[in-house]
């Protein structure tokens, strides 16, 4: 479904991704693990079109998308839930969701109902400004807004970052549900333990390259987690 080939993304002279390749299969949850600074967020931003790769190719359903701007990539069915949530703070929850459906030409009231049913907390606060929500609620809103574009592939960058354990559980419950409903997901996660429970496939990236990939269980979990947090260099 998504193929990333030999991707190089740089900030000025510093290369954050140094020839990274990976693949996401239709209907799967694929997880990207790695220590801080490995290039996980850079990878997500490059796929979503926020950053321009210096080299390499990104193909979604056979179509190259590397040169497109973010809104055009959303229109093709790839939505990113960014790391820092980025909700529209001065707009109501409902307006945030409408904004998420901006490029859809079909009537989406049904989807809106379904999504609000899936996130009851958001339904309660539908007319409240998004800026007044708690961190967990904002994360839910960011996910819900991305879902409003009816993505074929959902990119999630550290959805559990800075959230209370109960909220993290809820986020992962939703990820599992979305997967059951047929959405493909590419997940970047620090919480390797949780991520490996839901993922079918994972990539370990260190210093801008894939250093290991496989399905959960192909590497002892403690070894994997150690490398995901610390990197192999310091092991």
């Amino acid at each position: 479904m998504l193929r990333v080939v030999d991707l190089v993304t740089a900030y000025g002279k510093i290369e954050a991704l140094k020839g990274l390749s990976l693949e996401v299969r239709e209907g799967s949850i694929t997880c990207v693990l790695g220590p801080n600074g490995a290039g996980k967020t850079t990878l997500m931003l490059t796929i979503a079109g926020v950053l321009r790769p210096r080299q390499g190719a990104i193909e979604f359903r056979g179509e190259p998308i590397a040169a497109l701007s973010p809104h055009a990539i959303v229109a093709r069915g790839v939505a990113l839930v960014p790391e820092n949530r980025l909700v529209f703070a001065h707009m109501s929850v409902l307006e945030n969701l409408h904004a998420g459906a901006y490029q859809r030409k079909d009537p989406y009231e049904n989807d809106l109902e379904k999504i609000l049913a899936r996130f009851p907390r958001l339904k309660e606060r539908a007319s409240q400004d998004a800026g007044t929500l708690s961190g967990g609620e904002q994360q839910m809103l960011a996910v819900a807004r991305a879902l409003m574009s009816r993505p074929r592939l959902l990119l999630m960058d550290e959805p559990s970052l800075g959230l209370a354990p109960l909220v993290v559980e809820e986020i992962f419950r939703i990820i599992a549900e979305l997967h059951r409903d047929g959405t493909s997901i590419l997940l970047v996660e620090q919480n390797a333990h949780m991520a490996l429970k839901v993922a079918q496939h994972f990539y370990l990236i260190e210093q801008g390259r894939v250093t290991f990939s496989g399905s959960p269980g192909s590497l002892a979990e403690d070894e994997l987690i150690r490398r995901a947090y610390l990197g192999s260099a310091r092991a």
């Binding site: 701007s69 809104h71 959303v74 001065h90 707009m91 409408h98």
Partner: protein
Amino acid sequence: MIDFLQNTLDGLALGSSYALLALGFTLIFGVLRRANLAYGPAIMLGCYCATWAYLKTGIGLLFLALIAVAGSTLAGVYVERLCFAPHRKGAAAAAMVASFALWMQFEELATLALPRHLYAFPALYAGGPLSLGRLTLRVESLVMLVAAILVCAALWRILYRSRFGTAVRAVIDSPAAAELSGISVSAVSLQVFALASAIGGLAGFLIVSGNEQVTPMLGMWSTLKGMLAMMLGGLGSLPGAIAGGVALGLREAHSQWYLGPQLRDFIAYLLLFVLLAVRPPWMNTRSAY
């Protein structure tokens, strides 16, 4: 007392023209977070198109209004594509200098087409002023006031009750999040620029037909007054822009009465400077609409 009331009435009328200018400015600033120095000159160019058409064909006021609005809109779109679209990320100063360069282009174009310093423009209303007891009100002022209110109402509807409005407010709130939600920031910017310039063109038409004359100075004048009114109302707020415009108009009308026109402007600028430097609390908020 009667003078005070008359001044207030005049100020309100003057202020509604400032409010219209400030509304356009605020829309552009909200979306781009950039100072567009060419905003006023684009309006001036639109009014010059109308003047030119009037001198060549003598067509009616309604057509002149349409030409002024269309001309300003086109000029505004030209400004956006040349000055702001290439500098969406960073280089705010470069965008400002570029808009300054277009300002010079517009003034040159206007004086090339119509080289005299001053041209007569057909009056909006030929009759005398209305009288309300001992107060008088020019019909032009009344039209201006009504136009300002109507434009505000229409803008409110567009921004809060339409799909396009949701996109505009999303871009104002966070351009990055808007792109990731599938909203093209570039397209929205262009549309907002066109909308703001159209409002400016309407304001320009009402101003020149009220004054019954047009000069190339209209460009600088519109940029200055619009920017000042926007500032007074707090940056990037639509109700604030209206309040700022009206406040500016009231203040000018009153101080003109007490101080005369020259000292009036001098005091105005110093006051504004102090106000901006001291920054009262309402000017700190950047709450979007």
